[in-house]
Symmetry: C2
Subunit: 191 residues, 2 copies
């Protein structure tokens, strides 16, 4: 997606430790018009898959997931990272290890909102080590739902998550795949 | 906003402790089409105020804030509740006490995304005790920005937050104001 890649090149900042800071438009300040374009791209990619539900994780997955759901006219569910007071006692849960934060956390989704009849599209802002996608996919399995695939805004293709997730048979499409940023500038995969 | 009130009456669940469970469409599963209508309503209310930025708190404030920003073509910033690895070291912060969770937490916004020239619209899903709005308003003050007002999806008008926030001179508009739900059913304020 050219608009997204241009935005990453213009406004993304590469920090030590393979961190790509895109909090100017993706995960702290959000550019709603760009999120809409991202939603259009995912809606186009996954148009024919009879998706009934979009699943993401709070908080940074919500903007691209919401816009995709808006365009596809499909409800969006976000897995929670904390045990909310108003969460049903009957929930699905999975453990996710965060390499960024160097600790595990539990993600939870009420059983009311993920069911065996669902055909689920996962959406997330980043794919790096793949733990979040695997955790979400685990919830989909537990619900007995079908997993249509995962739509990722930015994939760090030089890390192992993409391979790990695809080896599990999950269909992954990323709007921007980064081949390398070790020199301080972002290089995208040829596609 | 009639569509929202109808949705609350049809799908909201009143739980003991004055909890209104609306996680079927607002804060766990999200109805994107309803969020768009909510965004239209806020955009209409705050149309003439020369807003330059929308500010909310992760995670449940993001959906209504994002749609409002999309319609108004204004960037959205969400305050973070955890110290993210990629957050600037130079941030604004405020303490917010959560009556639901019975503990305080710190909200943070990078100084890059809230500045003295900004005219800020706060958006949140609920107004009950007012702590979140006051915390966000504190961040706006610290940035030297101007606060245009606060757009709230659901106000529990029987709790004190609305009065508390309005007494500070903050212009608040809520799309659904609940007068009472002590009997287990929701009654809206006459407006």
């Amino acid at each position: 997606m050219d608009l997204l890649k241009q935005k990453i090149l213009n406004e993304g900042i590469v920090l030590p430790g393979n961190i790509l800071k895109v909090d100017n438009f993706l995960n702290h300040q959000i550019d709603p018009q760009l999120m809409y374009e991202i939603g259009l791209a995912f809606a186009d990619i996954f148009a024919d898959m009879k998706i009934t539900k979009i699943l993401t994780i709070e908080a940074s997955g919500i903007p691209p997931a919401l816009m995709t759901g808006y365009i596809m006219k499909i409800p969006v569910v976000y897995a929670k990272k904390t045990e909310a007071a108003n969460l049903d006692s009957d929930y699905l849960s999975a453990e996710v290890y965060s390499y960024t934060r160097k600790k595990s956390y539990i993600i939870r989704v009420s059983r009311n909102y993920l069911k065996s009849g669902d055909c689920v599209l996962l959406i997330d802002d980043f794919l790096a080590n793949g733990q979040a996608v695997l955790g979400l996919s685990d919830l989909v399995d537990q619900a007995g739902a079908c997993l249509a695939g995962a739509g990722i805004v930015i994939e760090k293709a030089f890390q192992q998550g993409g391979d790990r997730v695809r080896q599990r048979g999950i269909y992954v499409r990323s709007l921007a795949r980064i081949e390398d940023m070790s020199g301080g500038t972002v290089q995208f995969c040829d596609e």
